[in-house]
Every structure is written in structure tokens, then in C-alpha cells.
């Protein structure tokens, strides 16, 4: 049953990773605007039309 100590440690570490990921995402402003990126990703780049000219 000593494996339990190890497993609990692991699970806490993983959870801490997620917490830090969350803090990082807040810090870098990823949660400030949750609408524009959803539109932005749908825009197509049209490099071909520029090369034609």
C-alpha cells in the first residue's frame, strides 16, 4: 500500500501543473477576449492571389 503515497504525490503534482497552466493563461491575457479568436481562426489567407500579380 506504500504505492498510495507515491500516487497521491503524482496526482497532486499533475493538478499543480494544471493550476500553473491556468495562472499562466490568465497572465498572458488569454482569458481577456474569448470572442475575437473564434472569428480570427476562420479567416483564410489568400497568398495565391497576391502571387498572381
Amino acid at each position: 500500500m506504500e504505492i498510495m503515497y507515491f500516487l497521491i504525490g503524482c496526482s497532486l503534482c499533475m493538478a499543480l501543473c494544471f493550476l500553473f497552466a491556468f495562472v499562466w493563461s490568465v497572465k498572458t491575457g488569454q482569458l481577456e477576449d474569448d470572442y475575437t479568436p473564434s472569428v480570427r481562426m476562420l479567416f483564410d489567407d489568400k497568398p495565391s492571389s497576391q502571387k498572381e500579380e
Partner: protein, 808 residues
């Protein structure tokens, strides 16, 4: 009689802005445009391969019928102004964030983020659509700030620059702290739950002795960040309100959290059990979630504005015949300033030169321009509509009539409304009731078993912690706010929805509120015109581009114009045309040299017609009442008392008394102060009032009212400080909005009953001193989630049922 519009005209809409093309369309690449401005934008975009703009969304542009003046942004060359607007600057690049009110669709996002293709010195541009902001980094050595703004304006995205920007940087609303708190609470909640599960599902004797203390200590450690960091604000708020001898909802919450923490820690360290740490973390997490939802709703709708937002940043000052640009806050008495067409007058001044036609709609709500003669006083806030004028300042900006109106005591004082929120009312009684139950169960058990008494006392405080009650208001009101926002009814804060539910009396302003700014009714006064007369008038007006001529043309749209022999127009006065030997004159009373009827002319624009020097009569052009006004009034009059306060004279009394029920008070010639006094008097009688107005002349009344609603033709444009802004297109739904607010309050009442039921179940365990952690751990999230789901679905349901918006 409704004018029948030519079908052919209806089918033509501008490829750029989608407006109907009333003139001959301009053609480029088989595409039709309504004006030069739209055409130019298209050509610019086409040259730069940016035509995807028109593919993402149809007719995405904003109309550019009023061209942006070349010199308008000259003030941006001023270093001092630049320094205040730019957020970051090094030797190469500058960063700046603009607010762009015309941004409205995904095409706008695309074009604004593709700016670097139009102007090579732009490093990047990034849009925040909900805030209508674009952040741009550009190389200032290759492109001046002025050029950048001119570029934006030339493609129809003119940034809003105003005095507020100069006084302080646009403040970045930071709710990061709340997000961190929420994240930490969520992290702790999840882990404590996980660690508590084995205990709930039962551990055998061997494992229990081995792991139970470990789990307890871990839970304790994990609950510390929640208790000390995440729940911090609740303790602060409870302490603050206690020191002011008020009991708010945060007091029982903070008390519950504190008791839970102390008792759980005691149980863990004395090895009596595992405590209520999971309930504690869950409670804090859900509470913060509610707070976050509320804050997000408020963040997306922000319209704290004052007069400064509407003043220009800088004006042209004339010194020794030379023009220099001076920031508005540095203007001095005696300065001679130049105001161009469409600019706003920043301070009270005397007219020194030029033809002044000033639109005071910003101040009075009346959009009909007022003529001023040389030497006359011109008040701040007016917008010049004719050519350039020169003014000499007689008051500094901060002491102008407009500024004083704004700074009147009614504005600066925060007027407490008599309407108390349901939550405040309930939490006062709730807390006393809760303490009474806790104490009586303590006393009851202390006679027999002291430890059971403490147990029961703390258990009551833990289980009755009004989490669900604290959640019901933010979720119900927040959701209601969002739904109303979709119906173009924008509310300042959740408390306004609740106040709306209590309103008994509605007060309307007339001009700009009940009437439409842009829609006109045209009426002929005089003997019936014969067919050939009609045709002559139409043909004469057809030649002119003046807005009034266009309206007369539209009035006769079933006829076809004929060729004039000679035609000429004196701008702003009138037109003269010959059909063979017949002379037709159309224009103002002054143009035709006849006396003006002041009584009528003050509320309507009159256009006189003379054929062969015989005055036949006049066209009266007046603002039309809003669509569906009669129905709105009918719906409202069954539920509310109504009043009408108008700044105009009583020429419209007859029309209005037919619209409104007989019990309505109709008052005319009301000054801004009169309006405030009227509302004050009603308020003193203990009546809850909502004021619906528009211009700054209503601003005082809007503030005095329990709920001030300003009607705006364009939500991005001016509206005085108020509790809510209603888009004019939603005016016909006014009654629906109030009905919905009432239903929202009912939803809150019901969800309170629901949470009480949960509390009663929990309390029945608690008073017996037999509350086990698992019951608390199940009841608390269950009641919270029930309340969240109930309020959200019910507000949706009522919004649909009442029909406040189609796009729910």
C-alpha cells in the same frame, strides 16, 4: 397614407455599406456604390487585394457619405497629445489602442487585422471585438500617428478620440485577481474531493488507521489557500459592513466559512474525523463562480461616460491669422477658435464670423439646427452643421453651461435609490433567523451534552450558509442582463434589472425619445395642389441635393420629374426654377420674403412654395413618432402611470393626448431643472419612477429617477449617463423589458424558496447534532447547481415567452 417606394430603387443597395441607393449608383467592377466614399474604400481595398472583406460578410462597410475632413486630425501632430495617447514608444515602434465604435462584424475584424497590407509601417494590429478596440503597433518613423488615424478614418473605421483619453490612459479593467482566486479555489476543491472520496466510500480498519490522518492533513493543507486567499474578499466585505453596522449577505457566508474551517481543523488535528474541507472549498468555488459571471456581464457592457467623452480632443486656435492646434483643456478665455463643419463647440463662445447652423441635439434632444447671428452667444455642446465659423471663447471649458449642467449636484451626488435589493432585504432577516436557530439548538443540547451542543451549533452555521441564496441573484440578474443586451437594451448593472421590476411610474421625454431623429413626416399646408403644380414642385426639388428637397421629392414619388428650363439654388435658402415661363420658388420664409409663424416654426421646419410669385402654402417637415408608439403606450398604460415632459411648446398637445391615456400628465415647456423637480416630487410621494429620455436636457431627470433609460439611435454614440441605454430600434419593446424584469425577480424569489428547502433538510440533521461531512458535501453543491440551473433556464424561458428578442 404611406408613400409607395419605387421597387426598382429598393432592389439597389450599396455593395460597400448596404444602404439603399437613392441617386444614380456609382459603378466600379460591376458593383454599385451609393457614394464616392464607399466607392473609394472599395477601390483602395481592391488595389491591395483585400476584397475578402466583402466575402466574409455581405455589405460590411459603414457609410461614408459624410467625408472626413482633411484637417480634422491635425491635432495628432501635437507631441503632447501624442504622448498621452500612445501607450508604449521606443526608438522604432509605438503601440496604441483605439476605440472604434463602427466595428460591427467579422469582416471588420478581418480588415482591421489586415491593416499591415494597406500600410507597410504597421507591424501588427489586433482586435478585441467585444470591447470594440484595436491595438496597433506601428513604426512611427515611417508613418505618423495622424496618418494612421486618417487611414482608419478613410476606410470607415474612425477611432473615437476624446478628452477622456487625454486625462488618463484607457484603464485596463482587471479581473485577473478574481480569476486567480477562482482558479485556486477550483484546484483545491477538486483535490480535496478526490482525497475525501475514500473516506466516504469506507476504508477498512487497517487502511483507515494508516491513511485517515494523512488525508486529513492533506485536506487541511489544501484548504489553506482557499481559506486565506480565495475567500479573502468575503471576510473583508463582511468586516466592512459590520463596522458600518449593516448585515449584508457576505456576513453569514464569511461566518459559515470561518466556522467550517475551524471545526474541520479541530476534527482533523484531534483525529475525530475528516471535517468539512470539501464543502468549504466547494462553497468558495461556487461563490466565486457567481461573482465571476456577474463581473463578466458588467465588463462587456460598460458605458460610464460624461460630457468629456463628447468633446473634441483639440481645436484649431487662430493667432495672428495663423492656425495652431491646442488641446481643449488648455483653451483660455479670449481665444479665437475655428470650428469646422460637424465639429463640436467645446466651450461657451461668441460667434465672430461665418454662417452658424448649430445642432444642439446633444444638449436638448432637438436635432433641428439653430441659426445664430454674428455676436450671438453659442453654448458648448452644439455641433456646427454649415461651413467654418470663428468663435471667441467667453468661458473656459470647465465652466460652460453644459459642464455646469453636468456637474450640478444631482449628477455628482450618488443618489441612493429607495429600492432595496431582494438579497439585501432577505440576508438581514436570514442572518438573525440563522443565529437564532444555531443558539437555540446550542442551548437545547448544552443541558445534556456539551460536545453535542457545540457540534449542533457549528453544524447549523455550516449547513445554512446561504450559498444558493448568494448565487441566485447574480445568475438570474446576470443572465437577464445578457438577454436584454441581445435585445439591444443595455443595462449598467444587475441591480438595475431588480429596480425595473419595482417601477410604478414611467416618465417620457418627447423629442428624440418618442420622435425619431432621422424619420420625418412631411405635410402640405395650403390649398390642394393641382397635378401640374405638383409636377413643377417635384421637378424643381429633384435638381437639388438638399435634404429637405429630397424629402419633398420622395413625397411626390408617384410622379416623374420633367426638364427645367433654368434652375438655380442659393445653398441653405431655397431654389428657383423655370418651366417655360412659369417660375417656381421653393425655400425658407426668408427666401420668399414672407413673415414666419413662430409658433409653428419652432417645432417644425417649414418649406414655402410660390409659383409665379404667388405663395401657395408650405410643407411642414417634422420628426415622426416612433413606429409602434401607440402600441407601446397602450401596453404600458395598463401596468404603469405615465407622464410626458417635453421641452418644446404645446403645439403637439392634441396629437399626444390622443396617444396617451386620459390620466397622463402632459407638461410642455419644461426646462431640464423642471424635469428634475417633477421627478423629485414624485419620488417624495414614495413612487418608484423610470425616466425615458435622450438628450443632455434629460440627463438630470435620468439621474434622479430610480431607473434612467436613455434612448439612442446609435448605441455607440452619445447618450447621457443613465442606468440603461435602449437602442431606438428596440423602443417598441419597452413594455416587454419591464415585464421581463418583473419575471426575473419572480425567478429569484422561487430560487430562494428552493434553496430554503435544501436548507431545511440540512438543518434537520444539523439541529440534531448529527450532520455528517458527507451530507454537507452532497447538499451544498447540489443546492448550488440546482439554483444555477433553475435561474438560468427560467430567465431564458421567460425571455422567450415574453419575446424580448428574436435571436435568443
Amino acid at each position: 397614407m404611406m408613400p409607395v417606394l419605387n421597387q426598382h430603387i429598393i432592389s439597389l443597395s450599396c455593395y460597400h455599406c448596404g444602404d439603399q441607393i437613392t441617386d444614380v449608383p456609382l459603378l466600379v467592377d460591376d458593383k454599385k456604390f451609393c457614394c464616392q466614399g464607399c466607392k473609394q474604400v472599395y477601390q483602395l481595398l481592391a488595389e491591395n487585394n483585400l476584397c475578402s472583406y466583402y466575402e466574409i460578410q455581405e455589405t460590411p462597410g459603414s457609410s461614408l457619405k459624410a467625408p472626413v475632413s482633411e484637417v480634422k486630425f491635425n491635432f495628432l501632430d501635437d507631441e503632447e497629445i501624442q504622448a498621452k495617447l500612445v501607450q508604449f514608444k521606443d526608438s522604432q515602434v509605438s503601440n496604441i489602442t483605439f476605440h472604434i465604435p463602427t466595428m460591427h462584424c467579422s469582416s471588420c475584424i478581418w480588415l482591421l487585422e489586415s491593416l499591415y497590407k494597406l500600410e507597410k509601417s504597421i507591424v501588427y494590429s489586433r482586435v478585441d471585438f467585444l470591447k470594440r478596440q484595436v491595438s496597433i503597433q506601428f513604426n512611427h518613423n515611417r508613418c505618423s500617428l495622424k496618418k494612421l488615424v486618417q487611414l482608419l478614418a478613410s476606410i470607415g473605421y474612425e477611432p473615437a478620440l476624446n478628452m477622456n483619453d487625454l486625462e488618463g490612459k484607457v484603464k485596463v479593467a482587471s479581473n485577473n485577481r478574481l480569476l486567480y482566486q477562482l482558479g485556486v479555489a477550483g484546484f483545491c476543491f477538486g483535490n480535496i474531493m478526490l482525497i475525501s472520496f475514500p473516506e466516504y466510500f469506507g476504508l477498512d480498519e487497517f487502511s483507515k488507521s494508516k491513511f485517515s490522518p494523512l488525508f486529513g492533513y492533506l485536506n487541511f493543507a489544501l484548504s489553506l489557500p482557499t481559506f486565506l486567499y480565495s475567500a479573502n474578499d468575503y471576510f473583508k466585505s463582511a468586516y466592512k459592513s459590520l463596522s458600518r453596522k449593516i448585515i449584508n449577505i457576505d456576513f453569514p457566508l464569511a461566518l459559515g466559512i470561518l466556522v467550517m474551517f475551524v471545526r474541520s481543523a479541530y476534527e482533523v488535528f484531534t483525529h475525530q474525523g475528516i471535517g468539512f474541507f470539501d464543502t468549504l472549498a466547494g462553497l468558495v468555488f461556487f461563490l466565486l463562480l457567481g461573482r465571476w459571471v456577474q463581473q463578466r456581464t458588467i465588463d462587456t457592457i460598460s458605458f460610464e461616460r460624461d460630457y468629456k467623452s463628447y468633446f473634441p480632443v483639440a481645436v484649431a486656435v487662430l493667432k495672428e491669422n495663423k492656425e495652431t492646434t491646442v488641446p481643449v483643456n488648455q483653451l483660455k478665455i479670449g481665444d479665437r477658435i475655428l470650428i469646422r463643419s460637424n465639429e463640436i463647440i467645446p466651450a461657451d463662445a461668441l460667434l465672430m464670423a461665418g454662417d452658424a447652423k448649430i445642432d444642439f441635439s446633444f444638449v436638448t434632444g432637438e436635432s433641428k439646427p439653430v441659426d445664430k447671428v454674428l455676436g450671438e452667444m453659442v453654448y458648448a455642446g452644439g455641433r456646427q452643421t454649415a461651413g467654418n465659423i470663428e468663435l471667441e471663447l467667453i468661458k473656459p471649458v470647465s465652466q460652460s453651461y453644459l459642464t455646469q449642467l453636468w456637474n450640478a449636484s444631482q449628477f455628482t451626488k450618488q443618489l441612493p435609490s429607495a429600492i432595496e435589493s431582494f438579497q439585501t432585504k432577505v440576508s438581514r432577516y436570514f442572518t438573525f433567523f440563522l443565529l437564532a436557530i444555531a443558539l437555540s439548538s446550542f442551548v437545547f443540547w448544552s443541558l445534556t451534552d456539551m460536545s453535542k451542543a457545540v457540534n449542533a451549533f457549528t453544524a447549523v452555521l455550516i449547513i445554512a450558509c446561504p450559498c444558493a441564496l448568494a448565487l441566485s441573484s447574480p445568475f438570474a440578474l446576470g443572465n437577464a442582463m445578457r438577454l436584454l443586451g441581445r435585445a439591444k437594451f443595455y443595462i449598467k448593472g444587475p441591480e438595475v434589472v431588480e429596480k425595473m421590476a419595482h417601477i410604478q411610474h414611467l416618465v417620457f421625454d418627447k423629442t428624440g425619445t418618442l420622435t425619431q431623429d432621422k424619420n420625418f413626416e412631411i405635410e402640405w399646408h395650403g390649398p390642394q395642389l393641382i397635378a401640374y403644380q405638383q409636377q413643377y414642385i417635384l421637378s424643381a426639388c429633384y435638381q437639388s441635393v438638399h435634404p429637405l428637397s429630397k424629402k419633398i421629392t420622395a413625397h411626390f414619388n408617384q410622379l416623374n420629374p420633367i426638364q427645367t428650363s433654368t434652375y438655380f439654388e442659393i445653398p441653405g435658402k431655397g431654389i428657383e426654377a423655370f418651366f417655360g415661363s412659369v417660375q417656381v420658388k421653393v425655400g425658407s420664409a426668408a427666401y420668399l420674403a414672407i413673415p414666419v409663424n413662430q409658433q409653428i416654426a419652432s417645432v417644425q421646419t417649414l418649406v414655402y412654395v410660390a409659383i409665379d410669385n404667388e405663395v401657395l402654402g408650405y410643407f411642414a417637415v417634422k420628426n415622426a413618432y416612433r413606429d409602434g408608439l401607440q402600441l407601446v403606450i397602450q401596453n404600458l398604460s395598463s401596468a404603469f402611470d405615465l407622464s410626458l415632459l417635453s421641452g418644446d411648446n404645446d403645439a403637439e398637445r392634441n396629437t399626444l393626448s390622443k396617444l396617451f391615456p386620459a390620466s397622463t400628465t402632459l407638461s410642455f415647456n419644461q426646462s431640464p431643472a423642471d424635469k428634475m423637480l417633477y421627478l423629485d416630487a414624485l419620488k417624495k410621494q414614495g413612487i418608484y419612477i423610470a425616466m425615458i429620455g435622450d438628450g443632455l436636457n434629460d440627463a438630470g431627470a435620468l439621474k434622479v429617477a430610480d431607473v434612467g433609460i436613455s434612448v439612442s439611435e446609435n448605441a455607440a454614440h452619445f447618450s447621457p449617463a443613465s442606468d440603461a441605454i435602449m437602442d431606438a430600434s428596440s423602443f417598441y419593446k419597452t413594455a416587454h423589458f419591464f415585464a421581463f424584469a418583473k419575471k426575473t425577480l419572480t425567478v429569484i424569489h422561487f430560487s430562494f424558496v428552493l434553496s430554503l428547502l435544501y436548507n431545511i433538510v440540512g438543518l434537520s440533521f444539523a439541529v440534531q447534532g448529527s450532520l455528517s461531512p458527507i451530507i454537507a458535501a452532497v447538499l451544498m453543491p447540489l443546492s448550488s447547481i440546482t439554483v444555477i440551473l433553475f435561474t438560468t433556464t427560467m430567465t431564458y424561458f421567460y425571455a422567450k415567452k415574453i419575446g424580448i428578442a428574436n435571436n435568443l
